[in-house]
């Protein structure tokens, strides 16, 4: 880690893991998809990112994980600009897209080992983590089969395990609960909690409002590419349920 990087402490005194500053992204042709987003995720946060279809969630998330190139604003992960040193940022980040298309021609274990190689995970760590999470998601027995034979949910489980394999400081998930069976969804929530207690942070988008309300300590709502509200979950919701707040905010134009 470069010595010059200084950690800014958030309001709560925790280290900032993700900091989005004035991020904007336009579609080809000029229309704004995301407009001046500012947002901070601190160590230990489970940060829910909520919005209707086409609000700009995925456009934001893909820029955070370094998949989408952007011109306006900047994004810092663990204090490093993703524009200046994308590789260093990606080293501490894990990403699971909403519809994880994995390499169909590899077996599950080949894929996990491939990802572990790319992230430079030691032999002992990768074996221990694959064993742990494979058993937790009850998928170890299928590791020897080609991914092309996997169901949608199994692919998602594999993507989740591949994201946990290098113990990321920042875990970014796009709609992680879609397609998971109830047990796997429960396991994922447990794992998310564990990860945050060990000092990581999680940033994820979702449509499942009651999950977000229960799981997240912080929430941001995006509408038409702009953040309409963000902060601690109880501050955002007040006396109402998150669903009521969300519907109310989305209704007003």
């Amino acid at each position: 880690m470069p010595a010059a990087v200084k950690y800014r402490k958030g309001v709560s005194g925790m280290k900032e893991i993700l900091s989005i500053k004035h991020y904007s992204k336009s579609y080809k042709g000029g229309k704004r998809a995301v407009d001046d987003i500012n947002l901070t995720v601190e160590q230990g946060d489970i940060y829910g990112f909520i919005g209707h279809n086409g609000a700009g969630k995925t456009t934001t998330i893909r820029a955070v994980v370094g998949v989408l190139d952007f011109e306006e604003g900047d994004i810092y992960i663990d204090g490093i600009s993703i524009k200046k040193d994308p590789v260093a940022c990606k080293k501490v980040t894990a990403y699971i897209p909403d519809n994880p298309d994995l390499y169909d021609h590899l077996t599950g274990i080949q894929y996990l080992n491939f990802i572990a190689d790319l992230f430079g995970v030691s032999k002992e760590d990768r074996e221990a983590r694959i064993r742990k999470y494979g058993d937790a998601f009850q998928i170890t027995a299928s590791f020897g089969d080609l991914i092309s034979s996997y169901s949608h949910g199994m692919k998602q489980k594999l993507a989740i395990i591949s994201a946990l394999i290098h113990q990321p400081k920042l875990l970014v998930l796009d709609e992680p609960f879609v397609g998971l069976d109830p047990q796997a969804a429960h396991t994922l929530k447990t794992v998310m909690g564990e990860l945050c207690r060990s000092g990581s942070a999680i940033f994820f988008s979702t449509h499942v409002l009651d999950v977000a309300e229960k799981l997240c300590n912080k929430i941001a709502i995006i509408k038409g590419g702009k953040l309409v509200t963000h902060g601690r979950t109880e501050e955002v919701t007040g006396d109402n349920s998150l669903e009521e707040v969300f519907l109310e905010l989305i209704k007003h134009d």
Binding site: L102, Y103, D104, F114, D117, K123, E127, T140, A141
Partner: protein, 534 residues
Amino acid sequence: MINIWRLTRVQLLSSFGLNKALHTRDRKERNNLLLLGAAILLCVVMLAAFSFGYSYMLAQTLESIGRVDLLLALMMAVTSLIGFFTTVYKAGGVLFGFKDYDLVMSLPVKTSTVVASRVLQLYSLNVFFTLLVMVPAGAVYAIYVNPGFLYYPLFLLTLLCIPLVPIIAATIIGALISWIASRFRGSRTVQLVLTIAFVIALMAGSFSINKQEQVQVLADLGAELAESVFRLYPLASMYVGAVCSYKAGSLLLFVGISLLAFLLFTYVLGSRFKAIHTGLTTSRASRNYRMKSLKTSTPLRALYRKELRRYFSSSVYVMNTGIGMIMLLVMAVALLFVSADQLGELVEVPQLADYLNTLAPLVVSVFVTLSCTTSSSISIEGKNLWILQSSPVPAHTILLSKIAVNLTVTLPVLVISWGLLSLSLRTGWVESLLLLVIPAIYACYSAMLGVLVNLKLPNLEWTSEVTAIKQSAAVIVAMLIGFISLAVPFAAALLLPGVDGNLLLAAIGLVLLAVCGGMYRTLQTRGERMFRGL
């Protein structure tokens, strides 16, 4: 019928980024695509002109033996055979390898309609080539013979039927191979091995036919030629009967056979289509894995292994890009056995020997340039691209792994062929060295060129691998640049007979090395940005 067209149109729109060009709102992107379209059009016009010139020269030769009528027969037979040959190895992939299978098959259309739309995609790939050969040939014929008015409608009517029978024949073999493969456990590997075996058998077969015919060149050249063409491809005689002699019977027979073959095939395959597709795509799921010790490796090695597995998991990919190396190997072996004596005599002719030594490395390089796997290696990532884009590996490492796979495909075959060719061509040590080094440089050149072109012209939204591998702008552009890079040295070698061949080759090698260095630098400095901009 209308459904067949609807399904075919959807597939065709995804080719060459056509739909993107029609609907993109980005002005820059549209302009780029327009420019590309113009460049391709220019090439088509040039090819058409070349084709016309070739037909014209052929017609002159045929006129001297009084058989201009054979021009159309010859050209028709040649397009048909080439069509057959180039379809055999991609038929299985086009028929069964499309990702929207579930979507298409759940639509309220007959399975035979789906099959028909797949066959028509193969047809559309071939009809272009047929037009490019036959239209100029037809024009030359009209100039020479000045036929009656009836010639024109008959020519146009039969024109579109020409590719049907070769495609069906090739597709039957492709489907058969797929059908056999679908019954095995490792169906993809079996499909690949069977296809390669068939192609090699076909090449070996055509070599032996040529050998026989050389013996039979007799006094009555015209009749002999006609007979051998018609024997090689019986439909050619029907075709000539219909177009040149206006025989109604021949016309009916030719059009009838072509259409009937198409209908019958789609009907028959339609009944087995689902079974074959299921057999090919159902992977074995044993669900009995137990955690074992895992091997670690560097990112580059891991990427390389993944890339290599990807390559060999797709028979379309291997056949389309490996065909050049297969041909090179078959040629090298054939030269060793078939005509060692004749070749020996040729080498004795002093002037020819010089040419041979200069041209041989370039000829070998043609095969190497044909085997460019990298020009579709980024497109082939398709929806998987996020995995590499979000991984903490510098883009140039990723791109390097793709180049390494291309070299793995070309270099070993090149070295083996080089050994064989050195034996049969009896080259001296300098010539031997050039025969290895020049194609090796071309291998590096074309691999890096492919990556750069594909970065500039990616096609990530395909539903069938064939679209990425065969029908994408990057593949065509890389191939064109590759050919130009070969045509220039060829022309230099032929037009500058005074210059020492070895010197010329060395100069070409140095220029290419410099270009390779430049491309490598570009990948290192700008690769990251280009890769992230995908």
